[in-house]
Amino acid sequence: MKKYSLIVVGGGPAGLAAAVSASETGIDRILILERGRRLGGILNQCIHNGFGIHYFDKELTGPEYANRFIKLVKRRGIEYKTETTVLDITGNKTVVSINQEDGLMELQTDAVIFAMGCRERPRGAVTIPGTRPAGIITAGAAQKMININGYHVGERIIILGSGDIGLIMARRLTLEGKKVLAVVERMPHSNGLARNIIQCLEDFDIPLLLSHTITEIRGKNRVSSVMVSAVDEQYQPIKGSEREYECDTVLMSVGLIPEIELGKRANMLLDPRTNGPLVDDAMQTSIEWVFACGNVLHVHDLVDYVTLESRKTGKAAAHYILQRGTAEHYAGVTYAAPISYIVPQKVALGEGQAELFFRTDRVVTNAEVVVAGGQGEINRIKAARINPSEMQRLVINKEKINGLKPVLEISIEGVS
């Protein structure tokens, strides 16, 4: 049985950056296992630009961004296998995986980094009444069909949900000469980045219907129309506001969920808010030898932040492999609405800084983010505006989390 120091599950942006970073920290015998035909993950189908503004200080397309890391992986001689599916991780540090060349493999390793990314919520998860015809497709699946396979998914399209992939696809479909009737969003605010609303919808006169939802899908074999209603504050459709849109396609962009099935099978502890693993600030999960980063941990807004987080994770995994001490005492991170989640969920006590990411469940304006730990308030940061679509970053000096009560309390004050 071949033995590795580190196996990275997933060869998308998170896996690539984590592997490179672990290699830079002095780990050899790294193996990346990728399910797709090539390295790069979802970036390969994101042919639009806008990636890398923060990390490379340059606007790149998805494949360009991925290629920068693929080159590093190759230059550093990191081993990888594509079209390889990981079936399980087992208690004795074994990764069970399968492909056509090697068959079933039981690979021994010192550590694993989970970088499987996320999947899209399907129609069933939002239970839209009506028929179940062809022509209902998630935005990411449509993106792959068009950009990778070269096929159109439909002619007249309505998009449910204003997630970023949906917005990007609204523009993409319009550029391909298709009619995008509207983007329908149940919330009073968009889940997409402000720049995407402008560049993908407003620039193409595509209406964004906030506080609206699809209440019925019609059509026997292929979608023929949908009913769209305004919703009230409890998200219930308002009677009499229905309007029928004739279309042959419904694109679903109603959220992303970490693809953590491997963790579930291994009884890893998960955070019900992120649907990803519980981690400390070294991205170590409840299974000591397994780390996690990227969208499998929590769904990120920008790939640049995936890269940063994954570099940190690669380094932390390397330290674990090199047995450079592990933390023993932690502060649990607590929070309350309007914060919807915080990652990591606990912070190791000691020296240095901890980096925390959070999101809110609503638009917050003119408020203050208050950080308290142990003996009281540590920090207070003014926030003019927090959009739910954007991840917020907090850096905390760990030495300030001391005292008898090792907790880190994050709250937002002054929310109207």
């Binding site: 079936l87 056509q100 068959g103 009444p129």
Partner: protein, 503 residues
């Protein structure tokens, strides 16, 4: 399999109209004799209507009125079910069931069922008190008084059960004609001439297994005496994450004597909640509605609490064929339905129609009884024949079906060595390999659509509901069938997935 062949056709011994689970088993059981059997199906795949969307329960037999055909059939079918499923390699779990009684009325009802079940020959039934019930199923409504426990109730994969029957019939020589809708029936010099939109078929005997349309087929030769009223039932499917919410089929004791809303585990480890019951005009209308989905949620609280609806991965509706007797109003000449619906399956020759057999009104427990019905009908048809010959080459078993995900690592390793297509996982949620998808396409009565593959290989049944694998399956279908991607359909005729190539 033969597609759309026109021109001269042989004279068949038997034509079976409708390739659902009943048509499949009727054809299969007929083929225990040396017969030339044609199976006509109007859709582009078999088992696409009633067989496909129902509660998937293998009933024990305590509901049918003693003496009814249904009663004996259900009890026998239930006892024999594991055997048929072994032959046909269909997933079946004997979960047991509880009928929950709330209040005086419910009590009366479960004792009535107990009595009825004993008369019908159902074994092992027991009345459990509140504590015993809650010990078995902690998520049952704590307000219950008692429950009726039946160990023999089970759950089956309904579409696989139907598909397996059709496939086995074809393996044994039945000729399956898809996209073949019957438009007329005529008897000429002792033979039935069956007109379809795919040419004319001729046979000595015709068996009408047309499900929701059985009344329309029957009326092509017989006086109207029953009508099929489509009754729509809506369902929710919960993710396997919530799969242990109940371990048994949970019925409610209801005043209207229907089986009502049920919570049941499925063979795939999901939970199924439903159905509602709503009589419709349109036999085709399987849309779901907000009202009924809300209604199910409120009704189901009576028996099971805390159902995690945030784990719903799919909702769907099925239509069951509810038969009603009809007769002509002597004054107006209009056909009128009797108040009381039919209490039994309608099996046999209608008046004055020799050698034409109805298999109609196959609602619950039709899935349970399908093989029994097939056996019974084959008996009726054979009894008409002069000198029926046993088919010594009849094989009741389907060719081995690989379920990769359920195998040991050693077995998986061996399979990949034999056929490297086992090394390619197509459906990541359910771990279905490319080899299994290809097998689903090339078996007899094989898949021609994305949903056809789903029903045979189990792809797209997981929590991503085909989000990732639909594209892969389209490509495999396109490659195997030698058809462009644009022509591959999701499901019914006209359900294309991609609308054209990029320029």
């Amino acid at each position: 399999m033969v597609f759309k062949v026109k021109g001269d056709r042989p004279v068949y011994d038997v034509i079976v109209i409708g390739a659902g689970v009943t048509g499949g088993f009727v054809a299969r059981e007929l083929l225990r004799y040396k017969l030339k059997v044609a199976l006509l199906e109007k859709n582009n795949d078999v088992c696409c209507e009633v067989t496909r969307a129902n509660t998937a329960i293998v009933h024990s037999g305590y509901s049918a009125k003693p003496g009814a055909l249904k009663a004996g059939m259900t009890v026998r079918a239930n006892e024999n079910f594991h055997h048929v499923c072994e032959e046909l390699q269909v997933e079946f779990k004997r979960t047991g069931s509880l009928m929950i009684a709330i209040g005086e009325y419910g009590l009366e009802k479960i004792y009535q069922k107990l009595k009825r079940g004993k008369k019908n020959g159902v074994k092992g039934m027991k009345i459990l008190n509140r504590e015993e019930t809650l010990a078995l199923e902690p998520n049952i409504n704590p307000e219950i008084v008692m429950s009726l426990f039946v160990p023999s109730t089970g759950v089956v994969n309904p579409w696989e059960f139907g598909l397996a029957a059709v496939e086995n019939a074809v393996d044994n020589g039945a000729e399956l004609f898809l996209n073949t809708r019957v438009t007329g029936l005529e008897k000429k010099s002792g033979l039935y001439s069956v007109k379809t939109d795919n040419g004319v078929f001729t046979a000595k005997y015709v068996v009408n297994c047309a499900g929701l349309y059985a009344d329309e087929i029957s009326e092509m030769v017989a006086e109207p005496f029953f009508k099929i009223v489509p009754r729509r039932g809506e369902y929710f499917v919960l993710d396997t994450d919530a799969g242990d919410h109940v371990g048994r089929v949970i019925f409610q004791a209801r005043e209207d004597d229907t089986k009502g809303c049920i919570v049941t585990p499925t063979v795939h480890g999901n939970i199924l909640v439903g159905p509602s019951a709503e009589d419709l005009q349109d036999k085709d209308d399987n849309a779901t509605t907000q009202e009924r989905m809300d209604l199910i949620k409120s009704v189901i609280q009576r028996s099971v609490v805390g159902i995690p609806y945030n784990h719903v991965i799919r909702s769907f509706a099925g239509i069951r064929p509810r038969p009603n007797w009809v007769s002509q109003n002597p004054e107006t000449g209009d056909l009128e339905c009797y108040e009381d619906d039919v209490k039994d399956f309608i099996l046999g020759e209608p008046e004055g129609c020799e050698n034409f057999f109805n298999v109609a009104g196959i609602k619950s427990p039709g899935l349970t009884c399908a093989q029994e019905i097939g056996d019974y009908m084959a008996g009726l048809v054979i009894a008409k024949m002069q000198n029926p010959q046993l088919n010594e080459r009849f094989n009741p078993c389907r060719p081995k079906k690989v379920r990769f995900a359920q195998m040991s690592l050693e077995e998986q390793q061996q399979l990949v060595r034999q056929d490297r297509r086992y090394g390619k996982i197509v459906c990541r949620c359910k771990k279905v390999t490319e080899a299994e998808v290809v097998d689903a396409i090339w078996r007899n009565a094989g898949a021609r659509t994305v949903d056809g593959v789903k029903r045979r290989a189990g792809t797209g049944l997981g929590r991503c509901q085909g989000g990732f694998c639909t594209e892969e399956i389209l490509k495999i279908l396109s490659r195997e069938l030698g058809k462009p991607l644009e022509e591959i359909e999701k499901d019914g005729s006209g359900s294309y997935v991609v609308s054209g190539r990029l320029k």
